[in-house]
């Protein structure tokens, strides 16, 4: 961990070398996350978002309480997979193969690996809830035109329950996800994120071809759907 003086030195060095120092407070990031998730909730509706809220709470508790159990079973399943790959029960000497596999190191050992496992399980449960919501609640929400947006916030409006509550629940989900991720990813009181924007620009430049191809593919698909009447 860097001390405060070292952090200030790093920032000063970065500014002196022509880099840009952008300060983001946790509150700004939190507000951005909440707004983005609120918008998602607005478009998905309250029912779907509620399922995600339940899933986030469950996933948070599950990875907290069941951490040891999860660790044991992930490592166990890993060994079982290795055993099967080495021939399993069909091997010439299954017990010798099992002894050999058991002697191998576990898949997840270090705190870093355990953190990745926790995040992966949490993300899998939450993503599953997002997808399940789409499958279970198939009924589409009433479309809202831009001019009718203020009506969403009036309790007597037909959009109020689905859209407004969706917005609130989406924002809550964003907050919960943020609340779960930040202490695990950035445990220190202050985090300095050095973003090498030069290579980021390179990365974006290199992948612009894929973006172009995807846009063309989407346009073709959109036109095909429109011409066959499948977009209705």
């Amino acid at each position: 961990m860097l001390e405060m003086s070292a952090v200030l030195g790093l920032l000063a060095g970065l500014a002196a070398s022509g880099g840009t120092v952008v300060q983001l407070t946790t509150q700004i990031v939190l507000v951005a996350v909440v707004i983005v998730f609120g918008c998602i909730g607005f478009s998905r509706g309250a029912q779907r978002e509620f399922l995600v809220t339940v899933a986030i709470l469950f996933a948070g508790m599950f990875v907290q309480v069941g951490h040891k159990w999860l660790l044991f079973w992930v490592n166990r399943m890993y060994k079982m997979m290795l055993f099967v790959r080495s021939g399993g029960m069909g091997a010439s000497d299954p017990s010798a193969a099992w002894v050999k596999v058991r002697a191998l190191p576990d898949l997840i050992v270090s705190p870093q690996q355990q953190l990745y496992m926790t995040l992966a399980v949490f993300a899998a449960i939450v993503l599953l809830a997002y997808l399940l919501g789409e499958l279970i609640f198939r009924q589409k929400l009433r479309p809202v035109s831009v001019w009718a947006l203020p009506a969403v916030f009036i309790p007597t409006s037909p959009h109020f329950f689905a859209r407004f509550l969706g917005l609130i629940l989406g924002a809550v989900n964003g907050y919960l996800i943020f609340r779960f991720l930040v202490p695990r990813l950035f445990p220190a009181a202050k985090t300095v994120v050095v973003l090498p924007t030069g290579s980021l620009t390179d990365f974006l430049g290199k992948n612009i071809n894929y973006v172009f191809i995807i846009i063309v593919a989407v346009l073709i698909l959109w036109a095909w759907l429109a011409s066959t009447g499948r977009n209705k």
Binding site: N209, I213, L219, I220, A223, W224, T228
Partner: protein, 183 residues
């Protein structure tokens, strides 16, 4: 002949007009055939270049100016033009559906024509560039290219499609075939 980018733009406009006249379902069939043509060219490239590396066959010498690059370009161009002609003039591979009326339909038709023009003319230009503009000996292309034309080269289809191009083209062809057979 004027700068290559002007010629390119003029031909694109022709393709857009053709697209508007033929409509999107027919143009999408041409798109599929153009992708097949591009795939054929990509797959044949090692073989054609392998043969030409051994020397230009005597029968091709008078027509090509005895230059291996010129022969290669003319072979590629003929193959591309042949497949494109078949897709336009032969039994057209038409997709199902009707184009919506109004501006949306017009944009769809024009867009499909533009895409086909980009694929056809872009592929021709790519191979012209690759084989160092053998058409300049006929006075059809004026070299050196303008800075604008040089900047356009990196947007040609073969420079846009990432490697492995054959696999990506196959994926696109399969997707277009799926759209063709879905009822």
């Amino acid at each position: 002949m004027g700068p290559i980018e002007v010629l390119w733009a003029a031909l694109l406009i022709v393709f857009i007009i053709v697209g508007i006249a033929r409509t999107f379902p027919k143009e999408l069939g041409v798109t599929l055939m153009l992708l097949v043509a591009m795939l054929v060219l990509v797959m044949l490239e090692p073989r054609i270049m392998g043969i030409l590396a051994k020397g230009v066959p005597p029968v091709l010498k008078p027509a090509s100016g005895a230059n291996a690059e010129a022969v290669a370009f003319h072979l590629y161009a003929l193959l591309l033009i042949f497949i494109t002609l078949i897709s336009y003039l032969g039994v057209t591979l038409t997709y199902e559906g009707t184009v919506p009326k109004g501006l949306q339909g017009l944009l769809m038709n024009a867009g499909a024509g533009l895409l086909n023009g980009y694929l056809f003319i872009g592929t021709l230009w790519f191979y012209m560039d690759k084989f160092h503009y053998p058409m300049q000996q006929w006075g059809l292309i004026k070299l050196p290219l303008s800075p604008f034309a040089q900047s356009l080269i990196r947007f040609l289809p073969q420079n846009i499609i990432p490697q492995p191009q054959d696999k990506i083209l196959i994926i696109f062809i399969i997707l277009l075939l799926i759209l063709r057979v879905i009822k």
